[in-house]
Symmetry: C2
Subunit: 154 residues, 2 copies
């Protein structure tokens, strides 16, 4: 019973994975920081970040946030009341509404983005060579984990 003990995984891959999860989930909960700094729920901040790239329809925004259409209305209502977002009727199709981020909304989105992208101090203190290797390994892991849909030719 030395290989499947309670909390002492000896497998290197498992060790790496647990360390990663610990860093992201426990040691540096950026999500909590964001909601705290902006005074809004995480999904609202995510909506703002989504809108930085350009205006979207309610439907598109809901899809981007993976939330229900009705809840999309609730979220946009809230953001609009805060003056972070504007709603306008689409020019050609008057059914759809186009959500556009405002200047203040953009500022809030920037704050959120900066908080989430700010690396832990320990990461900044890493020797350049070691950091470079880490980046190489991690980006490869991301690529190989992201939707391995039957290798897109190439």
């Amino acid at each position: 019973m030395s290989s499947s003990r309670d909390g002492a995984g000896a497998d290197p891959a498992e060790l790496a994975w647990r360390a990663m999860r610990s860093l992201v989930l426990e040691l540096h909960d950026k999500r909590a920081e964001v909601t705290d700094a902006l005074g809004m729920s995480y999904i609202r901040a995510k909506a703002l970040r989504s809108l930085v790239g350009g205006s979207m329809t309610m439907r598109e925004l809901g899809a981007a946030l993976a939330i229900d259409a009705s809840y999309t209305t609730v979220v946009v209502d809230d953001l609009e009341q805060r003056g972070l977002v504007r709603r306008a009727v689409h020019d050609v199709d008057r059914r759809v509404k186009v959500v556009t981020i405002t200047a203040t909304g953009r500022a809030a989105a920037r704050v959120a983005q900066r908080i989430m992208d700010e690396p832990p101090p320990a990461l900044l203190a890493l020797p350049p060579a070691e950091l470079a290797r880490l980046v190489a390994t991690l980006t490869e892991l991301v690529e190989r984990s992201a939707a391995p849909k039957s290798e897109p030719k190439l």
Copy 2:
């Protein structure tokens, strides 16, 4: 505006951090897997995992989960009704109740732990040398991030 663009962070540390967050939060949402597999909320699964190490009082369990005393009652009520946990009055102090995990509860906790500890396939496919370097770097990051309380001597 080439250094502070919208989503193209050039800083290596930032790249590493974003990759890590992407892996843990988006690409491999173990938390969702656990709640899905066990049919219970994450905090309930966390309660079970906490109890594997030994019985705890309601108060201790609440502290371990960082939840309110009243909500601790709710959680334990639920786990007890599922037969995953037992409540007993403390021998010496009859105010406190000792929560003990059952055999089935232990099995559920094991399932949860296994899901969360299971590394992404891409991580398992890494060359041993690269994996070893990754583990070394990550564990150091964890150590340096975890409560840097004025260097405990030594």
